[in-house]
Symmetry: C2
Subunit: 421 residues, 2 copies
């Protein structure tokens, strides 16, 4: 029996096969995300992986359905596996925002799902770090969320040579569109054309833009010459005070495909241009109002960073640590008669907070030593003797091979001298 196409199995390292993913790498990535969010004062939330289909179509229009894992449940409800977290966040905030002082700073690490029929071989799920600030319209909030994005990538050991956050403004493009008398009813089509500028042929883009009443040459001229717009200036000043400007660049070619952004937008790219965007986000001041049916009106902004591109980038830039088990020690059991006292020792070591494994079946010391090394233990302990004075312990450092004999009561103290894992 096979897993479904586009889904991942996560195995402990070392990985048995290239078609599976590393549970240890996932855990490493999640813990960095979590740590950095908390360092910035963000608090964790989560919602259901399954939501009513309406939540997503309200935000993104009926076209989104083509890309969703949606179905009718046994109660006749139209439901979908979440393709993104923001609608759930907006729903949750709208339901209980009165109980939280603003600004709200929340993060989540949801698994997200998309069903794209045409893209065989591509993943249909990924995990995404989502961080959002709700209830703050000041550009200080934009700078805070961009700083979190930068520092998160830095925490993986990535530097200015590895990534850059490109900053843009929907508002600047809206003003451009108005100034150049674009068709007001088709503004979103204009954003999509700008978004595709680097991927489409110049001819197609020229045709598309002209159909909207805008000149291709004026668009490319704007891209090359425009100064940071009024809304970007205070954000840049803020990031500069934090010493983060070297990671950031204004680039109006970034505009983000999604319809719901209202202000500043940004994407993090790898500097070598080998991967898709590492993360993206922006301001979406209308979404909470739309999702709450007009009941709650709160400005908001945030970003999402997926685990797949990040993992590939970290691997390509050799920034992934070597993953070993977290095991501290191993208790070998040679002598059947010492099985009981050995179990008691294992229990004491674990009670002391140590990560300890042992041999289920008594056997030769050599074999158990090999097993302890395979499992990545730092030390091995075994009992010897017995008789009138009771058994004593032998403790061997698996790195230095240094060995010492000590009373059982002294083991916990002795192994606490080994470095933490």
């Amino acid at each position: 029996m096979e897993r479904l196409p586009g889904f991942r199995d996560f195995y402990p390292e070392p990985l048995p096969h290239t078609d599976v993913w590393s549970a240890d790498a996932r855990s490493y990535i999640f813990s960095k995300w979590r740590q950095m969010a908390m360092r910035y004062g963000f608090r964790e939330y989560d919602g259901p992986p399954l939501e009513s289909l309406e939540l997503f179509t309200t935000k993104s229009g009926a076209e989104i359905v083509a890309q969703l894992y949606n179905f009718q449940d046994k109660g006749g409800r139209e439901v979908a596996l979440r393709p993104e977290m923001t609608p759930t966040l907006a729903r949750m905030v709208a339901a209980h925002e009165r109980n939280y002082k603003k600004p709200i700073k929340w993060f989540a690490i949801p698994q997200l799902f998309r069903y794209e029929r045409q893209q065989k071989g591509r993943l249909r799920e990924h995990f995404q770090f989502n961080a959002d600030i709700i209830g703050e319209s000041s550009p200080a909030a934009d700078a805070e969320i961009i700083a979190l994005l930068v520092d998160t990538l830095r925490s993986f050991g990535l530097g200015t040579e590895d990534f850059q956050v490109r900053l843009s403004s929907r508002q600047a493009w809206a003003e451009f569109y108005k100034l150049h008398k674009g068709d007001p009813s088709r503004e979103y089509e204009f954003y999509q054309a700008v978004d595709k500028l680097e991927r489409e042929s110049p001819e197609n883009t020229r045709k598309k833009l002209e159909s909207l009443g805008v000149s291709y040459d004026e668009v490319t001229a704007f891209l090359q010459t425009a100064k940071p717009s009024a809304d970007l200036a205070p954000i840049l000043e803020n990031l500069s005070a934090r010493g983060l400007m070297e990671f950031v660049k204004v680039d109006f070619a970034v505009i983000r495909g999604l319809a719901y952004y209202t202000g500043v937008v940004f994407e993090a790219f790898d500097r070598k241009g080998e991967f898709r965007a590492i993360a993206g986000g922006g301001r979406y001041d209308n979404l909470v109002r739309v999702i709450s049916g007009g009941k709650v009106n709160l400005p908001a902004l945030g970003f999402g960073m997926g685990d797949v591109v990040l993992f590939e980038l970290l691997r390509a830039r050799q920034k992934l640590p070597v993953f070993k088990s977290s095991l501290n020690g191993y208790c070998a059991i040679e002598d059947e008669k010492l099985y009981g006292p050995s179990l008691s020792l294992v229990q004491q070591l674990r009670d002391a907070g140590l990560h300890v494994d042992y041999s289920f079946i008594p056997g030769k010391l050599d074999k158990q030593l090999k097993r302890a090394l395979e499992l990545g233990a730092s030390w091995i302990v075994w009992l010897e003797g017995g008789g009138e004075t009771g058994p004593t312990a032998k403790l061997r450092n698996l790195h230095t091979r240094e060995e010492r004999r000590l009373p059982i009561s002294g083991i916990i103290e002795a192994v606490k001298e080994f470095p933490d894992k």
Copy 2:
């Protein structure tokens, strides 16, 4: 827009409403689970939340479909949201077992889904701690998994007065059934009747048992007088050597409803009998063979512990800690002119690994002090002065209200004296 019935939203504490769940409590429970599994030398894995329907029907028969979130995906595949983790584990192990030395000790914390139409108001998802040992038939493995279950519950502060693990044996009941000449083709019905003994009326059970050719009185006599069977004895001896016998009791009334158990079975109950079983598990030596279509044959055993009953038990026994934000400190900004240097300070504090929040908009110190207290910060810092000598910092301990003036360069050292969170 509302969330789907039976699903949970997880909010940061303090909770806004009783109809939502605590993201902080969830995180606390997950981290204890993870910690204890690692202390026992288990390694984390995960699989997809969506699997082919066949994976679950192969294990549990076609009847399981009535309880599943299953549907046909857009590629025409019959799929289901996972109702349990064991089939995925068996599938993953069967695919790559050659790369892992036995015994394999793995754990996962999957979200699981069930669609039960009739039980309105009951949850349709929960998270479950799953720990399994694969490739070891020795009763030492049974004892290890039961010890992990006991120690996991102990790690939440639960003691012998709070819970007990009741141990039983499918094998002992199989021998009983054979000895008393029950209908061999209906053995599983017998287990189900025993499983329901405490919930069904004696009349119904008597009728059911007699239809199988077994006497009700002999069953109840066996329950009251049977000694630990031969397969349980070494497990009890093992647990006794660990000093865990006070948490364990043999009770043949436990038999587990699922068809796939083959040996020892067990459940953890709260001692006051207020809740459903806290956890349950047992040995399932045939499952890997069945799931792999006969290709891989490995003995296996494990348990599952859900987050819902555990959370309710911990709350009822007042074992949940008070959840606060992890925030260490707060940087107040009174003077607009000091905004830049304050941002620089915040960046330095975060770079040093501290969890720090600050005011997006400069304002009165009083208001920001209140905010810092609400957020659970241990200290607040703000800059003052400027001019020729540059600004200096004021640092206030929010617990003792002690306040001191110091140079900006001395803040990191000073706040490191505050206790960790």
